[in-house]
């Protein structure tokens, strides 16, 4: 089973990297970019087939390591 965990910065947390990318896109002349926030994507392969178990394991992974919940939110998707 394949899964994806997406980690993004919480609203209000300053994202200097996103700002720099936003600036670069604007200087490239890419039209219509209002703002950029940078995040992380983890593609994870799971051994079992139980979706509930998988979801629980992924949530644990995100809470304990993949995200720093002081500053980041995460979303778990089973693909």
């Amino acid at each position: 089973m394949k899964a994806r965990v997406t980690v993004t910065l919480k609203t209000g947390i300053l994202d200097p990297q996103g700002k720099a990318i936003e600036g670069a896109l604007k200087s490239l002349g890419v039209d219509g970019v209002a703002s950029v926030r940078q995040g992380k994507v983890f593609d994870i392969e799971l051994a079992g087939a139980d979706r509930d178990k998988a979801e629980a394991a992924l949530k644990e992974a995100a809470d304990r390591l993949l995200a720093n919940t002081v500053i980041e939110n995460y979303r778990v998707e089973l693909l």
């Binding site: 947390i13 300053l14 200097p16 720099a20 304990r64 390591l65 993949l66 720093n68 002081v70 500053i71």
Partner: protein, 233 residues
């Protein structure tokens, strides 16, 4: 003072730290590998040194914070044991939950590697008793992610409880935007936990302890710890 220095893959300031501790305390510190599950008996001080544990993968300090030895450090700190984290060590302590907040990318996005001035906010703690309150010291920094951030409530608590021990300042001791090298909230360079026995700081006091380094302002931190432990003994 029997110090234990934690060693993680990618750490590179552990020998500077060991040299400074030996010089000032007279005792060779123990080097403790991250896969260990206990600290040497009789440890007076645990040091989490600087460097780039696990290449800063995922987030600075995130992977080291989950190493087996960190459970032992949590237990040691819960019993009141002294813990000092410098640079990556500060990041590791925040990631491990021993200190609140997080160290974000420097506001100017650049790696900063030069001397800075710090104002010592108070002298009545184990980590600052070698200095006077309000004293300005000069120590180096070397980091890309030293921009301390925490939510408003945490910052209010840190300030209200006098837990900010070191702040970036001008050579004259003024805390202002210009001296706040990395954009840290409240110009925070170093904080302690609520019990006051765990300090995390971005600058490297261990790199200003000998005349050959051009400055010895960092000695006070270690000398203060030695004095604190001598008095407690």
């Amino acid at each position: 003072m029997k110090a234990a220095i934690l060693v993680f893959p990618g750490i590179n300031r552990e020998r500077d730290m060991a040299r400074a501790l030996k010089l000032i305390s007279g005792h060779e510190p123990a080097m403790v590998w991250h896969a260990e599950t206990s600290l040497p008996a009789g440890t007076d001080l645990v040091v989490v040194p600087g460097g780039f544990s696990y290449g800063d993968y995922l987030r600075c300090g995130a992977i080291a914070a989950r190493a087996p030895i960190m459970d032992a450090v949590r237990g040691y700190a819960a019993k009141g044991g002294l813990v000092l984290g410098v640079c990556n060590g500060f990041q590791i302590l925040c990631e491990s939950g021993l200190l609140p907040g997080v160290l974000m990318r420097n506001a100017g996005l650049r790696f900063i590697c030069h001397d800075v001035h710090l104002r010592v906010e108070r002298s009545d703690t184990p980590f600052t008793r070698g200095y006077n309150a309000g004293q300005v010291i000069r120590v180096p920094v070397a980091h890309g992610e030293g921009n301390y951030e925490a939510d408003e409530e945490t910052l209010k608590r840190l300030e209200g409880e006098g837990r900010v021990l070191y702040r970036y300042c001008s050579p004259q001791g003024e805390v202002d935007e210009a001296a706040n090298i990395n954009g840290a909230a409240h110009s925070i360079a170093g904080i302690v936990n609520d019990a006051g026995n765990v300090l995390g700081m971005m600058p490297h006091p261990e790199n200003h302890v000998e005349d050959i380094m051009g400055c010895t302002d960092g000695r006070g931190l270690f000398a203060g710890l030695v004095a604190h432990l001598d008095r407690a003994a």
